[in-house]
């Protein structure tokens, strides 16, 4: 605490700070963010935080301090995409049997589809099918959508304007990822060229028959445009 105070002379002003137009001292801002992140089960963005704080606060700076403060503690300040959350330290999971959430067992198809979406996003259904060599069942996609691990991204600007899938903030939160760039082995896969979209040479058989994209388009447009 002393450290942060020393870094910021305004912090010395303390909670007595009177001026209407001056933001509260950084130490005070840190307390506010601490309280808000503790109170929320969902990650909060810097903008969410600042919207609830007095005028002129700088959530980003206060977060740097707060994050440091909780290093090595029983709970931690974690980054989830452009948001922040407090989560228990993973090494203490054994204490939380009571809080453990029974998770639905995902099929191999669902797990693979999820991984493909995460590593290749934004990716169309046809591309997923090309990679897996089989058609993607509607149920698999629905399940992932329902778990809020994937969502519809922008339509691809190619003929048929197929929808794409991307992973969500909930996905990042669930797997403790700061952002999609932190996916395990992403860099290696990329440098090995395994994430390239390499079109098959002329005479390759299309591994998947039919094209369900059109059906999907009709049904899911609404959701997609909600974004």
């Amino acid at each position: 605490m002393a450290e942060e105070m020393a870094q910021d002379p305004t912090a010395q002003a303390g909670p007595q700070e009177e001026s209407l137009f001056e933001a509260p001292p950084i130490g005070e801002q840190e307390r506010m963010i601490e309280a808000m992140l503790f109170a929320s089960a969902e990650p909060l963005s810097g903008r969410d935080l600042e919207a609830r704080m007095p005028h002129g606060c700088d959530a980003a700076e206060a977060l740097v301090h707060l994050r440091k403060r909780y290093e090595g503690r029983g709970v931690q300040v974690v980054r989830v995409g452009d948001s922040w959350a407090i989560r228990t330290a993973p090494d203490l999971g054994f204490l939380m049997q009571k809080e453990t959430v029974e998770m639905r067992k995902l099929s191999r198809a669902a797990v693979e589809t999820l991984a493909i979406i995460a590593y290749h996003q934004p990716v169309t259904r046809a591309e997923i099918e090309e990679i897996r060599g089989v058609s993607v069942s509607r149920g698999t996609v629905d399940q992932l959508l329902e778990m809020e691990w994937i969502r519809f991204g922008r339509r691809r600007m190619t003929p048929g304007r197929p929808v794409t899938f991307v992973v969500t903030q909930e996905f990042l939160d669930h797997f403790g990822l700061e952002n999609a760039r932190d996916l395990p082995g992403l860099k290696e896969l990329r440098s090995a060229g395994l994430l390239d979209n390499r079109p098959p040479p002329g005479a390759m058989p299309t591994l998947v028959e039919g094209d369900e994209d059109d059906v999907l388009d009709e049904d899911d447009q609404g959701e997609m445009f909600e974004e």
Binding site: S40, P90, G93, L183
Partner: protein, 267 residues
């Protein structure tokens, strides 16, 4: 950890690969997610890095598998057969010297792409395993057990201007001037008044009585008043009959209308 698991899985697969390829593979075709999955499985029997895999050898393995399936009279799904046909074509391309007059990609290009597909599928499976081996929310780390929602407080402020106020007042004070045309009449006896009067009296109406007898005092003679009283009393009588409180009868056209209290079913 995920990687270890996977490596283990892989070596295991290799150690029994021959048997798998020869027997259970065939019996359990349904266990494969399509030809690519099967090809990936077969490729493991080559015990080499996927990058160094021999597509020619793999094609032969696959075609042998399809032959065996036919010998065992196992029905293969159409896409397995399409793949078999394509691999046979690929094999011939790989074996024959290239024909410069031929259009399209070379056998090597096709083989390279198939190798790429297999490697990519394997990479995605590895990635999926690594992903699932991560610490997961609700299993390894936890969210706030007692979240406090943000309480939404709605505050409504009402506004009115001086103009609103004055217009409101002006509206009130000039109401009479602006009200729509109505006939001002003093001698109006309303149905509500008649109802009120009759409700108090019907308790005594055991026998048939002319409804005219329910007119309020002083309304029988003046014709204007009488007309209003007749209409109101008649309407009120109908209302009471509808409520089941009285019975009405009339001897004939223009005969007096009579009323009596209704008591029970056969009163």
């Amino acid at each position: 950890m995920a990687e270890d698991d996977f490596e283990e899985d892989r070596t295991e697969g290799q150690s029994v690969a021959e048997r798998l390829a020869a027997e259970s593979l065939i019996v359990d075709v349904d266990g494969f997610e399509g030809p690519l999955d099967l090809l990936l499985m077969l490729s493991r029997t080559q015990k080499v890095d996927l990058r160094k895999i021999s597509i020619l050898q793999l094609a032969e393995q696959y075609l042998a598998f399809v032959e065996q399936a036919k010998a065992l009279r196992i029905e293969l799904a159409a896409d397995y057969l399409v793949m078999a046909a394509w691999l046979a074509f690929l094999k011939s391309r790989l074996l024959l010297p290239p024909d410069p007059s031929e259009e399209g990609p070379s056998g090597e290009e096709l083989a390279a792409h198939l190798a790429f597909q297999l490697e990519r599928l394997q990479a995605m499976r590895d990635a999926a395993a690594k992903l699932m081996a991560r610490d997961q929310k609700g299993r390894d780390f936890f969210v706030r057990g007692l979240p406090e929602g943000v309480e939404r407080i709605k505050r409504v402020t009402y506004s009115a201007t001086l103009l609103d106020l004055m217009q409101g007042y002006a509206r009130l004070r000039t109401k009479d001037e602006f009200r729509p045309f109505v006939m001002d009449r003093d001698s109006v006896y309303t149905m509500e008044q008649a109802l009120e009067r009759m409700r108090g009296m019907i308790g005594f109406a055991g026998s048939w009585t002319d409804i005219n007898s329910y007119f309020p005092a002083g309304w029988e003679t003046d014709p204007v008043k009488r007309r209003s009283a007749t209409a109101a009393t008649f309407a009120a009588s109908l209302e009471l009959a509808k409520e089941g409180k009285v019975e009405l009868r009339q001897g004939g056209l223009f005969e007096p209308i009579e009323l009596r209290r209704r008591e029970g079913r056969d009163g």
